[in-house]
């Protein structure tokens, strides 16, 4: 039986004119990697703000660790990074982390270990204000990991970083996930979520559209991308084929969506028998991005 880390029940948040979070419910179980997906302004950050004690809810409930401890004590077992890394600019990296240790009430023993993990050990005595955004973000991750948290919450951790910085942060997240830490990752970058998350909650305008495993969301049979010089003959063949439900002509490439499982090898053989040689054949699964766009566009 997996233990529940966070339960959210019918959560609502209204700002003066905007209903930012509408009746949101979900649970976070230990050991999984969750993604919260949604376009900008869909209520991701507000939801995280509420469970992290910085935004007041309008109605509804949330419990940390089955409601066994108060929210601020629960947060001592959580590591969280929200949008911008916020530290005291006049303190060094190490001093900032010492302060976090005092707030969380934990020994300062892990500071060196975590600074090494994020690759900032050489800069531990530099003032925070001298750091680049990528370094600030990595310091924030070190800070969030100081207590070896039960859950790591990341809100758009790669926002505003250069490609190198994005790569560093992503490989860090993958590394942390591999160690079995529960992660909740809010992002609008879908490939990011697809790469690391096992579960996903999709939000749009503060409402939940989907909540479940990533592989169930992408549960279709996939599609073929094909190209041939005999384009019309190819399209006719695909349209009359039982295995496909829709065929899309996208210029050079033709996309044929499967309704049952069909191997690329077999399709290739069938087409050759019809004397339609292919210049391009790829079998693909729909990416999370395509699923996400479908979901967020359909339910207007």
């Amino acid at each position: 039986m997996p233990s529940t880390i966070l339960t959210v029940n019918n959560l609502n948040k209204k700002f003066s004119s905007i209903h930012a979070v509408k009746n949101l419910s979900f649970t976070i179980e230990k050991g999984n990697v969750y993604g919260i997906l949604g376009p900008n302004g869909s209520g991701k950050s507000t939801t995280l703000g509420i469970v992290l004690n910085v935004v007041n809810k309008t109605s509804g409930d949330f419990f940390w660790f089955n409601n066994s401890i108060s929210t601020h004590n629960a947060l001592k077992k959580v590591g969280a990074i929200i949008e911008h890394p916020n530290f005291y600019p006049y303190m060094t990296a190490e001093e900032n982390l010492k302060l976090v240790c005092k707030i969380k009430g934990i020994p300062t023993a892990k500071i060196i270990e975590k600074l090494t993990l994020v690759g900032l050990i050489e800069r531990k005595d530099s003032k925070f204000r001298s750091f680049s955004l990528g370094m600030k973000q990595r310091l924030a991750i070190a800070s969030a990991l100081l207590n070896d948290p039960e859950i790591l919450i990341l809100d758009e951790p790669t926002n505003g970083l250069d490609p190198q910085g994005i790569h560093q942060i992503r490989s860090l997240i993958t590394k942390i996930a591999a160690e079995g830490t529960t992660i909740l990752l809010a992002s609008h970058l879908l490939d990011e979520v697809e790469k690391v998350c096992s579960h996903v909650v999709i939000l749009r305008n503060g409402q939940k559209l989907y909540d479940g495993r990533v592989d169930q969301l992408i549960a279709s049979n996939g599609f073929f991308e094909v190209m041939s010089t005999q384009k019309n003959k190819l399209i006719d063949f695909l349209k009359n084929h039982d295995a496909f439900n829709t065929v899309k002509d996208e210029g050079d490439i033709i996309k044929a969506f499967l309704n049952t499982n069909l191997e690329a090898e077999i399709l290739n053989k069938q087409l050759l028998e019809q004397d339609i040689p292919l210049s391009h054949l790829v079998k693909r699964k729909e990416s999370l991005e395509e699923q996400f766009l479908q979901l967020t566009n359909n339910k207007k």
């Binding site: 001592k76 530290f87 707030i103």
Partner: protein
């Protein structure tokens, strides 16, 4: 409590500006005190010796030193306002809460620090007054030694009340410059209302009875100006200068109520705010 104090101490002590102001706020009043209590000889032409005037005599000294020393509270007021405004401008208040500090603890870190500072400051003022008095006072009998030493307690409540006021305004406004401006405006407004009540709208008794509940007037009433008292000492026949300079219980109670309201108000502000 120790943990919360350590947190606030680190935040302030690592900041060069606050460190400087804290040190200054201790050094300046004492150097002024020491300078004023020594005899300054201007190359034999004339000498300035404040001790001659009798202001360092017990029990008057217990009134004079806390009164003038309390003006140096402005240094620490700058720290109080900036230590809160900086938490907003660096957005570290948000990070502190996410890291597991409760909103109540956040206000308490600020309040405890103010409390400890005020205690230390009062203690130093008390000791300094005693020492300077022992050196310069005409009579140092044990019976007269501690008469009027309640002004040190008044000093403590005055500073505590004033700093909680600063904290509340800083929590409300979130920006140092505007918060300080607001404090100044409130202080001036109180003077204007007081004078209008006294001369235009009513009389001095009504003015006093209403305005003793206003924050700045309440703080001021704790230690009334000692000037008239000094004048009275040099010319005891001027009985028309008699006034009520004593520290009254109701004055302390009013300031304590304000201190509570400001501290609790800061908490309510933070509690209802989305960061």
């Amino acid at each position: 409590m120790i943990r919360l104090l350590q947190i606030e101490f680190q935040k302030l002590w690592k900041n060069k500006m606050s460190k400087f102001l804290i040190i200054i706020s201790f050094i300046i009043p004492f150097s002024v005190l020491i300078l004023s209590s020594i005899k300054i000889d201007f190359f034999g032409y004339f000498t300035i010796d404040l001790a001659q005037t009798g202001i360092f005599n017990f029990p008057l000294i217990w009134h004079i030193i806390p009164f003038f020393a309390s003006y140096f509270k402005l240094f620490f007021a700058l720290i109080v306002v900036s230590m809160i405004a900086n938490e907003y401008s660096n957005r570290t208040i948000k990070q502190n809460l996410i890291d597991g500090l409760s909103k109540k603890e956040f206000i308490l870190t600020k309040f405890y620090f103010i409390l400890v500072y005020t205690l230390l400051s009062s203690l130093f003022i008390g000791i300094a007054t005693l020492i300077i008095g022992l050196i310069h006072s005409a009579h140092t009998d044990i019976e007269v030694l501690f008469i009027n030493s309640e002004f040190v307690a008044a000093y403590f409540f005055k500073l505590l009340g004033f700093f909680s006021f600063c904290m509340f305004v800083a929590m409300l406004i979130k920006r140092s410059a505007f918060a300080l401006g607001t404090l100044i405006v409130i202080a001036i407004a109180e003077v204007i209302i007081y004078e209008n009540l006294k001369w235009n709208w009513a009389n001095d008794v009504i003015a006093e009875n209403i305005m003793m509940f206003a924050p700045f007037t309440a703080l001021y009433n704790l230690i009334n100006q000692p000037i008239q008292r000094i004048v009275m000492i040099s010319s005891p026949d001027k009985t028309n200068l008699m006034y009520d300079y004593a520290v009254h219980w109701h004055e302390i109670v009013i300031v304590c109520v304000w201190t509570f309201l400001f501290t609790y108000g800061s908490y309510i502000l933070l509690k209802n705010r989305d960061l």
